[in-house]
């Protein structure tokens, strides 16, 4: 089980800290860094040392938008999984995120367990596409 190199874009510090702690505890991840706005995230992604397995993005940020981060991510040559974690997981929003290259979209309130499960599967070498968390 290799550790997932993960980068997190989330503007709420409460969630960011807790999410990092939870993932590090439950899943073999290595959190490479975190950003709370679009510019910082894009700068890190396009940087030279951007060896990455998983990108977790919130859509609504204090400055900029997660959608911009998705665009920047899909422009990268290196392949990695992209997950959107948002409070606005409407069908429309899900569609737009998937169009911009996101692999999965999780609702912040209801799909935390599904996100963790997805990360576990990724870490165990699964593609992550077969399972859809329903653990509520």
């Amino acid at each position: 089980m290799s550790s997932l190199k993960t980068y997190i874009v989330e503007d709420s510090q409460v969630i960011r800290d807790n999410l990092i702690a939870t993932l590090e505890e439950l899943v073999p991840v290595q959190v490479m860094g975190a950003a709370e706005d679009e510019a910082t995230a894009v700068q890190w992604l396009t940087g030279p040392d951007n060896d990455l397995d998983l990108l977790i993005v919130d859509i609504f940020l204090k400055r900029g938008s997660g959608l911009g981060v998705l665009r920047a991510s899909s422009a990268l040559t290196q392949r990695h999984k992209v997950v959107v974690l948002t409070n606005y997981a409407t069908p429309d929003m899900r569609r737009r995120c998937l169009e911009l290259g996101a692999d999965r979209v999780f609702d912040k309130s209801n799909e935390i367990d599904a996100l963790i499960l997805y990360c576990e599967r990724l870490a165990s070498g699964d593609t992550g596409n077969s399972g859809h968390g329903t653990l509520g």
């Binding site: 807790n18 309130s109 209801n110």
Partner: protein
């Protein structure tokens, strides 16, 4: 004095003055008429008196002529004029005595004349009697004495005096008539003048009254216009205020929804993350604790669902996410589920800006709330359509309805709706009646093509 001026000012004296003038005209006209008639009658009597005086003189001459003829000729033919003349003398004297009975001076003259005439007549009678008795000598003496001529002169003088008196009376009678006529003329002229004055005053008063009425009408109209302008202004202010308050309310709701969403959402998400970590640690070691944890997660999920509902109620995210038609469908479906009423939606996509969409949403929401609270409806129809750049919204129910003239308990809600619609440049109409259900129709201008 002031009261009198008031009376003059108000023209209250005009009618009495006109009556007075009319009465005066009649009095003067009647008075003059009767005085003139009296005077003319007197003049007629005076003419009779004159002819009697002249007749008296003529009769005496006739008597004397008859007597002379009789004495000279002895022919009894001449006795007839003599006898006739005596009769006429009697009649004339009687008339004159009667005529002058109220005039002592004239009566005195008449008495003298009468005495002279009776002396003359008795002298004539004496000569005739002497002649008849054959005493011709005595008769001749009497005739030659010249007494007869003196007597006749005296009679003529007295007759002339009476005649002159009559002439004076006639002249004074005529001047009386002239005076009466003149008086009548002046009176009528004066009173005509007065009546003209009264007419002029009356007309002036009438025109003044008309002017006053016009002025009052103008003032009333000006007051009405002023009030109308004020009402329009106030209404505009109220509409503006309502608009402002509604905007403030929506802003407040948005802020509240955002806070709930962001802050409370973050806390709940964080709690869920903690729960996931605890669950992982407890797995296999403490099944009872795991059970409590599952319950805690369920409670958290209920909290999240409640938060969602509150946020959705505060600001329908489906409006921006799904659009108006889907949002109204959801609204209708939820109402049908809660109330058991049948809801029939006929909804077309329309072009409205975000504010107007929110107004339509709130309107349908308010209408449905009212239906749920009061209408006891079995069926509800919700309509949304667009023709000729106008968006039409209608909400109809087959419930109990209400008297639109009365103040229903939800009047403020209706008024709020109306103001919101008007603030968006639209119109709202309401049709209802006891037992007739309720129909709310709103027309809003469509937003320019987007």
């Amino acid at each position: 004095m002031n009261r009198l001026q008031g009376v003059v000012k108000r023209g209250l004296f005009v009618l009495p003055l006109a009556c007075l003038v009319a009465v005066g005209m009649v009095v003067i006209s009647e008075g003059s008429y009767w005085q003139a008639v009296g005077t003319l009658d007197d003049l007629g009597t005076m003419a009779a008196a004159r002819s009697n005086i002249q007749g008296l003189e003529r009769s005496i001459l006739n008597a004397e002529t008859g007597q002379r003829g009789y004495l000279l000729s002895g022919d009894s033919e001449y006795r007839k004029p003599y006898d006739d003349a005596l009769l006429e003398i009697g009649a004339s004297l009687e008339f004159l005595v009667q005529y002058y009975r109220n005039d002592p001076q004239a009566s005195e003259v008449l008495a003298k004349l009468s005495a002279l005439i009776s002396t003359k007549v008795s002298e004539l009678a004496l000569t005739v009697r002497l002649y008849d008795e054959g005493k011709r000598k005595a008769t001749e003496e009497i005739m030659r004495s010249g007494i007869g001529k003196e007597q006749m002169d005296a009679i003529r003088a007295l007759s002339a005096e009476l005649l002159a008196r009559e002439s004076r009376s006639v002249a004074s009678g005529r001047s009386d008539i002239y005076q009466t006529l003149m008086f009548s003329r002046i009176g009528v002229a004066l009173l005509s003048g007065f009546s003209l004055l009264a007419l002029v005053l009356y007309l002036r008063q009438a025109s003044m009254l008309v002017r006053q009425q016009l002025e009052q009408k103008r003032l009333a109209q000006a007051e009405r216009d002023r009030l109308e302008v004020e009402v329009t202004q106030r209404t505009a202010q109220l509409t503006e205020l309502t608009h402002h308050l509604q905007n403030a309310r929506e802003d407040e709701r948005s802020r509240l929804a955002r806070d709930l969403h962001d802050e409370l959402g973050a806390l709940l998400t964080s709690a869920k993350l903690d729960a996931a970590r605890i669950k992982s640690r407890l797995a296999g070691t403490a099944p009872e604790a795991l059970e409590r944890l599952t319950h805690l997660v369920e409670t958290l999920n209920s909290g999240i669902a409640l938060k969602r509902r509150i946020i959705e109620d505060l600001r329908p995210s489906s409006l921006s996410n799904l659009g108006l038609v889907a949002t109204l469908e959801i609204l209708g479906r939820e109402f049908a589920e809660q109330s058991g009423s049948k809801v029939d939606c006929a909804l077309e996509a329309v072009a409205l800006d975000a504010n107007a969409e929110l107004v339509v949403y709130r309107l349908v929401q308010e209408a449905i709330t009212n239906i749920a609270k009061y209408a006891k409806a079995r069926q509800v129809w919700i309509g949304l359509s667009m023709h000729d750049g106008q968006v039409h919204v209608s909400v109809r129910d087959d419930g109990v309805g209400f008297d639109t003239a009365a103040q229903p308990p939800f009047a403020h809600g209706l008024l709020g709706m109306r103001y919101r619609v008007e603030a968006e440049g639209g119109t709202m109409s309401l049709e209802s009646g006891p037992g007739l259900g309720t129909l709310i129709q709103v027309t809003l201008p469509a937003s320019p093509a987007t």
